[in-house]
């Protein structure tokens, strides 16, 4: 069900979370990608040639308040495939009320919303799912052993409504997430649930 998910980048200068997130986003409709200015300065601006879709609207917000406003405007619109918002640090504007508003709006319009926190700490939030994502060493490249292969992620679901938390090292291949290493049997069921 589309809702608000919060995603913490374990390391702010690690762009790995974007691959994890984009693997779960549909691209049939335009995408709204909001970045606040600090996030752009610290970890770069999105680069359309590297993204799965070119059909997107990018918003460069002055601060977290504008970014949250833009996200809320976008989430209310059912014509978007998803809204992704990146906020740097722990802005004051981002409180429980703000996240709760986003969550309710996302559930009402059916537009999934991803709130990405770079260099922030998890505090009270209305998000239905809270992830902590870091890059993991990539898979073996079949063509060149010394080159990076398919990306893998160390994803931890530390808070979720209606499902147990867990931690997996996963990769995305041929439209499916699959486990890479180091998880128990129970995790495999969970993993099936997240195959987009």
């Amino acid at each position: 069900m589309p809702t608000l998910s919060e995603l913490f980048a374990v390391h702010p200068r690690d762009g790995g979370w974007a691959g994890f997130l984009l693997a779960q986003v549909a691209t049939d409709k335009p995408l709204l990608w909001v970045q606040d200015r600090m996030a752009i300065r610290e970890s770069g601006r999105i680069h359309p040639p590297g993204l799965p879709t070119q059909n997107l609207i990018h918003v460069e917000a002055r601060d977290a308040r504008d970014a949250l406003w833009a996200m809320e405007e976008g989430v209310r619109c059912a014509c978007l495939s998803a809204v992704i918002g990146e906020l740097w640090g722990d802005p004051r504007a981002l409180d429980f009320t703000a996240t709760r508003r986003l969550a309710v709006a996302a559930e009402r319009s059916g537009t999934p919303c991803w709130l990405v926190r770079l260099g922030g700490n998890a505090s009270l939030s209305g998000a239905r799912m809270r992830w902590r994502v870091a890059s993991a060493p990539s898979l073996l490249n079949p063509l060149d052993v010394r080159a990076p292969g398919l990306p893998a992620w160390d994803a931890e679901l530390f808070r979720a409504r209606g499902m147990p938390p867990g931690r997996w090292i996963i990769a995305h291949e041929a439209d499916r997430f699959h486990l890479v290493a180091g998880a128990g049997d129970r995790a495999l069921d969970e993993d099936q649930r997240f195959t987009a």
Binding site: R13, G15, H47, G50, E60, A70, A134
Partner: protein, 565 residues
């Protein structure tokens, strides 16, 4: 335009072309012929004659009522169309009442060179009128009246304009030096150098006096006096002429206008003004909500106008006129044409509230500066607007609040350099179609077109080999990093970015991107890009700028440019 009436009739009716048709208007003593077809003219029908007289010559004439209103409307339309030649176009005379005086008057000062000189202009006008099936007599002269005369009465000496063998009528262009009101003394001189005062005299002299656009009685009087041509008229002393012809039938005045001694201003047909709603206040309003309240009252008025003209606003501006003579303006743009009151009001509300009344507003105007056609459409039967419109409204709202530069859509550029290849274009200015579904094809088609049209090179698309070939994030400005490498031209081993050390575990590269020598200075160095992965799995895009001994600077420097997801 006597030909105009019959030509318009021939175009709209489906009768055989050889029918002896005459168009009639009601005169004081029964119907009067207004226009005749060629066949009818051969049988003796003449415009201005009574229908009964023409019937006496040939009883087979078919008489139909003329439609002067539609003729006048056509001339109006032609006047707008003639704006292609000159910005100043005037409908001359009233084709519905006076026979054959209808025409267009163009001020072509400073315009002719665009069409290859005055001859080229005349040819172009004639060709265009011939293409739409209207007979046109064209003449360029230094004064309006002279052009009028030359277009209607072919001068035996004239080389230009009135040489048309066909019944020359209707269209007439004049280079009126006197079109702007001139001080009386200067007017006499000004017209003469242009078009040659002597030429003008020579061309006008052999013309009949009716070419001076005098009324019929005056012309008859003059002809009875033996003054049949303008030349003859000029030889009579001015004083005698002025004494004999007084009041309305002022022959001297007509002569002066024809020769440029007196100004004859040209009044251009008005351009249709943009939709505008105005609100005047009884007393200056100084409270801060004045603009918002005015907006609430102006929007319905403007929307009504837009509805009537089937337009949608692309840019709106609210102007507040202050009592001290200054103005405050708030304007917004929309991504697709719109005339929905709620949406427009929502867009303008914030900006209107920010208008500072200072000493008080005493009037407001809401103008749709930029409009596009928008048919009368119902959104939908149920309360759910289409995705495209909704998206455009979202873009509008974002742009109004955050600024035009903050809301962008990707635009592919013709370049190998990553920071150049992906540009951003303001979302509100981008055409709305690619926003909605199927935009990808439209965009790629556009890119192909641009490739074909603009670039002298057609670079092949970069190999999209493995997934994640391109980084998902790009730093606005590549940042310098310290790199440790095994050999100067070899793979990097470790780098330091923002005081954090990254041990490189895996690396792929280089991917060499040469500088764009046709755009960049010759000292620009090439870039060798490497995809690197550090020990904890983070993937970066780094490059080495230049080679050792490439003769473009010292040791190569390293930069980080992107992050992989």
């Amino acid at each position: 335009m006597p030909e105009l009436a019959i030509e318009r009739w021939t175009k709209t009716s489906d009768s055989p072309p050889d029918a002896p048709v005459v168009l009639t208007v009601e005169g004081t003593h029964g119907p009067v012929i207004h226009a005749v077809t060629r066949v009818a003219a051969e049988r003796g029908a003449r415009p201005g004659a009574r229908l009964a007289d023409a019937r006496a010559l040939d009883p087979a004439l078919i008489a139909l009522p003329a439609d002067p209103t539609s003729d006048a409307a056509l001339v109006e339309r032609l006047a707008r169309w003639a704006g292609r030649w000159s910005p100043l176009v005037e409908v001359d005379g009233d084709p519905s009442t006076s026979f054959g005086t209808g025409g267009l008057r163009l001020d072509v000062s400073g315009v002719a060179h665009l069409f290859g000189g005055e001859d080229g202009l005349v040819r172009d006008i004639r060709d265009c009128f011939a293409r739409i099936g209207l007979t046109a007599g064209v003449a360029i002269a230094p004064t309006a009246l002279a052009a009028w005369a030359l277009a209607r009465f072919p001068s035996p000496l004239c080389g230009r304009g009135s040489t048309r063998a066909k019944r020359e009528r209707g269209e007439r262009a004049c280079q009126t030096r006197t079109s702007a009101p001139l001080p009386g003394a200067a007017g006499r001189r000004l017209s003469l150098p242009h078009g040659g005062g002597r030429d003008l005299l020579e061309q006008l002299s052999p013309l009949p006096v009716s070419a001076l656009r005098l009324d019929a009685d005056t012309v008859r009087t003059l002809e009875r006096l033996g003054l049949k041509t303008i030349g003859a008229l000029l030889s009579v002393p001015r004083l005698a002429l002025a004494r004999r012809f007084r009041g309305a039938e002022d022959v001297v005045d007509a002569l002066d206008r024809a020769l440029g001694r007196k100004p004859e201003p040209l009044t251009a047909a008005p351009v249709e003004p943009p939709p505008r709603a105005l609100l005047k206040l009884e007393e200056p309003a100084t409270h801060p909500e004045a603009a918002s309240q005015a907006l609430e009252r102006l929007i319905p008025k403007l929307v009504h106008q837009l509805q009537e003209r089937h337009l949608g606003a692309r840019r709106l501006s609210l102007t507040g006129y202050r009592v001290d003579g200054s103005v405050g303006v708030a304007s917004v743009a929309t991504a697709i044409p719109s005339r929905e009151p709620k949406h427009l009001q929502r867009l303008l509300a914030d900006k209107a509230a920010a208008l500072n009344p200072e000493f008080g507003f005493d009037a407001f105007a809401l103008t749709a500066d930029w409009t596009e056609d928008l048919g009368a459409a119902q959104d939908s039967l149920v309360e759910e607007p289409s995705g495209e419109r909704e998206l455009a409204r979202l873009v509008d709202r974002l742009t109004v609040k955050l600024g035009e530069r903050a809301v962008g859509r990707p635009r592919a550029e013709e370049s190998h350099l990553p920071e150049r290849a992906s540009g951003w274009v303001s979302a509100v200015m981008a055409s709305p179609s690619p926003l909605c579904g199927g935009g990808k094809e439209a965009r790629s088609a556009r890119r192909e077109r641009r490739q074909a049209a603009v670039s002298p090179f057609s670079p092949t698309p970069l190999p999209q080999g493995g997934e994640g070939r391109k980084p998902q994030r790009l730093l606005d400005r590549p940042e310098a990093i310290d790199v440790i490498y095994a050999t100067p031209e070899g793979m990097p081993r470790r780098f330091m970015w923002r005081r954090a050390v990254h041990d490189i575990a895996r690396v792929e590269g280089p991917e060499r991107i040469a500088p764009e020598w046709w755009r960049q200075p010759s000292s620009t160095r090439l870039r060798d890009y490497y995809r690197v992965e550090d020990a904890s799995g983070r993937r970066y895009w780094i490059y080495r700028e230049g080679l050792i001994a490439d003769g473009r600077g010292g040791a190569p420097a390293w930069f980080i440019h992107g992050l992989f997801g």
